[in-house]
């Protein structure tokens, strides 16, 4: 019999019961909550007079709606100018208070984007099942956990039963061999992967990211990669546990301590795919051949190396694809075969659950240090992923590197990634963004998003258009 994949092991260890029809009851170790997808779930509990099954597995923080200006934040919840946003944040606070759920409220230094906060606190650990009413929950798979996004009905289901009814996915291995070139980051790796397999390539699969590139990658980098598994269609992305994982987890507030730490580390040694494990699908990329990436269209798979030209629909043989290219070029205001480096930018956004961790901010700061943002730019925003990331960045003096260069230094939250708060693009504006989705209207009505790494976004902020960060000085 073939060995087990990491996904098989995580699945088997959380299987409560398999029904005759093949559906499975899976136990959930950690449930993360935010203000957008939880209010209807709490309301459902109240209507059915149900109580949460295990309070201590839940951890909440508001992130999508919170303002990121210091002026609004200093006043607290009452300072949220948008009354509808305010209701959602207040509702999360009230629900967590009522049910006794631990919440890092808006003015708590530990508040932040839920997918930054979980790992930072040690609240998401190797070997756990982690869910959240947010599709970027795959981020936590970087810890060697089984993590995926759920809808609001399932948020209610997890609150009430600590379980989910699931069908097992198939196993996919995405292996990136070799060594990345200088200036090429985890974001470029995951964008290149999506470019190869497409936005639906991972549908129905749990993706394990393996190979030398991921073995050498930091935890922050692995989180960036797993975060965007959903952009390749896979609900689950994960990386095997190694010493990098264990070093990252040790000593965090929610991490096991003392005797439990020893037991946990011993158990985590098995959290990798067996040598003889069989995958249903394997994709292999060469790390050395990956260049800095830029999305040019309205789907993450519409991505190219920075030195390329946007496609010409007349050269596409498939009619549906050609129509898709034409529509995307029109929405993005680009002409066929235009050089990516000729795309002029209006705004730059460095932040989001994909790229707002300390390593991302260091990479961006290294590029802008001693330089100035292009005068043609309307705005360049840096939004740290959590209060603790912000504090760390300020301790390192990164905030003054940014502000000296003309970038704005903000309070933590999801911000312009999905523009539920006041940070958004105007119609027709082009944005170099370190976020995860370039869908039509994602960052604001009529806004045009180009996904890039933090270093590429920083270089674009200085130049006013895209440049190859490898040769930018």
């Amino acid at each position: 019999m073939a060995g087990k994949t990491l996904y098989d092991k995580l699945w088997d260890s959380h299987l409560v019961k398999q029904q005759d029809d093949g559906s499975c009851l899976i136990y959930i170790d950690r449930h993360l909550l935010h203000e957008v997808t939880s209010p209807q779930a709490f309301e459902g509990l109240r209507l059915a007079d149900r109580k949460p099954w295990r309070i201590d597995t839940n951890l909440a923080t508001p992130d999508h709606n919170v303002p990121t200006t210091a002026d609004e934040r200093v006043i607290g919840v009452d300072g949220i100018a948008d009354p509808v946003s305010k209701i959602q944040v207040v509702t999360l606070d009230d629900n967590c208070d009522e049910f006794g759920i631990t919440e890092f409220k808006m003015q708590d230094e530990r508040q932040g984007i839920v997918h930054v906060v979980g790992p930072e606190q040690g609240a998401t650990l190797p070997g756990m099942t982690v869910v959240c009413g947010d599709s970027h929950t795959a981020t936590h798979g970087a810890m060697g956990a089984l993590a995926h996004g759920i809808g609001t009905s399932e948020v209610e289901h997890v609150l009430a039963t600590q379980c989910l009814i699931q069908k097992k996915s198939q196993n996919m291995l995405v292996r990136v061999d070799g060594v990345l070139g200088a200036g090429v980051t985890s974001k470029d790796v995951v964008l290149a992967i999506i470019g190869v397999i497409g936005t639906a390539g991972g549908t129905g699969y749990a993706i394990e990211f393996g190979g030398a590139v991921f073995e050498e990658m930091s935890m922050e980098g692995r989180m960036t990669v797993c975060n965007m598994a959903i952009e390749a269609g896979a609900r689950v992305g994960m990386v095997a546990v190694d010493q990098t994982t264990i070093d990252y987890v040790e000593g965090r507030p929610f991490s096991p301590k003392g005797e439990h730490w020893e037991l946990a580390v011993a158990a985590w040694q098995d959290l990798h795919s067996d040598d003889d494990a069989e995958f249903d699908h394997v994709v292999v990329l060469d790390g050395a051949s990956i260049a800095p990436q830029v999305t040019w269209g309205t789907s993450p798979e519409m991505v190219l190396p920075v030195f390329a030209q946007v496609p010409n629909p007349a050269k596409e043989k498939d009619d549906v694809k050609a129509a898709g290219i034409t529509r995307a070029l029109e929405y993005m205001g680009l002409t066929a075969e235009q050089a990516i480096t000729d795309i002029q930018l209006d705004r730059v956004f460095i932040g989001s659950c994909t790229n707002s961790r300390i390593e991302d901010l260091r990479a961006a700061a290294a590029v802008v240090k001693g330089k100035s943002v292009a005068t043609s730019l309307k705005q360049a925003l840096v939004v740290p992923g959590s209060g603790l990331v912000k504090a760390q960045a300020e301790a390192e003096g990164l905030h003054t590197v940014f502000t000296d260069a003309g970038l704005e230094w903000r309070e933590p939250g999801c911000s312009m990634c999905l523009a539920m708060n006041a940070d958004k693009l105007g119609t027709g504006e082009h944005c170099a963004s370190t976020s995860n989705r370039n869908f039509e209207g994602r960052q604001g009505f009529g806004g045009r998003t180009h996904l890039v790494s933090p270093a590429m976004a920083a270089a674009a902020a200085i130049a006013g258009h895209f440049v190859d960060v490898r040769t930018f000085a």
Binding site: V16, K17, D21, G22, L25, Y27, D29, V36, T37, P39, Q40, A48, R50, H64, N65, D82, V84, S85, I87, Q88, L125, G127, G133, D134, S135, T137, G149, I150, G151, S153, E154, H157, A160, T161, Q162, C163, I165, K167, T199, A200, T203, I230, G233, R235, P256, H260, W261, L263, A267, V320, A419, M420, T427, R437, F439, E440, G441, R442, F445, G446
Partner: protein
């Protein structure tokens, strides 16, 4: 949850791949803390010419006459015909809530994004996956005849009305059972409380650090 057994209605063809959940319901409408009222803002950026805001009277807004849902011939459609990877992107359940509130309770496509697909079943919406050629056929049927109606019979697993004859479809048996009977799956899971407790006891011995 409303049970889904059989549905007969107009089908509206949305000829576009990779329709994402931001397109189905833009983020400014996610600020509601209710499950209902999203229908007027379904496909908001495609349906209207202006930028929509929450708590706005959408009947007063300029509509986009070129968007298929606005064509008079598809008024009152109950079935949405779509292309590959429908519902990709975020996990927002507001997407199926908006479809349902608009009056659509069945989506037919060659493929769906996983989370959206799953969210449909929690809300009495039936997502049906068919082969490319079958979906093409239904698009052709819809375009060929104004007032073209389909009947979706979940009990029998058959779509009736296509010019090419009956089309069979498969739905996972547990989901089919819940949909046919309008079952609340939290209630079903709570019937397994003893199994969950037994699992927790065993797990606590193996991994005590998860129970502190």
């Amino acid at each position: 949850m409303q049970a889904f057994t059989q549905l007969t209605g107009l089908a509206v063809p949305l000829d576009r791949a990779n329709v994402d959940t931001d397109m189905i319901i833009p983020k400014q409408f996610l600020k509601s803390i209710k499950r209902s009222g999203f229908g007027p803002n379904l496909f908001d950026e495609l349906r209207y010419l202006d930028e929509g805001q929450p708590d706005q009277d959408s009947s007063q807004r300029p509509i986009n006459p070129d968007f298929v849902l606005n064509y008079p011939r598809y008024k009152g459609a109950k079935i949405l015909l779509a292309r590959d990877n429908f519902g990709c992107g975020s996990s927002r359940e507001h997407a199926p809530w908006a479809l349902l509130d608009f009056g659509i309770s069945c989506v037919i496509a060659p493929s769906f994004a996983d989370i959206f697909y799953n969210n449909c079943f929690k809300n009495g919406i039936l997502p049906i996956t068919l082969m490319d050629e079958q979906v093409d056929q239904l698009f052709e049927d819809t375009l060929a005849k104004e007032g073209f109606e389909l009947t979706v019979d979940l009990e029998a697993g058959v779509i009736r009305g296509s010019s090419a004859g009956d089309i069979e479809f498969n739905i996972d048996s547990f989901r089919r059972h819940c949909l046919l009977n309008g079952l609340d799956d939290i209630g079903l899971t709570l019937e397994q409380s003893n199994s969950i407790k037994k699992y927790e006891q065993k797990r606590q011995q193996q991994a005590p650090w998860l129970f502190t």
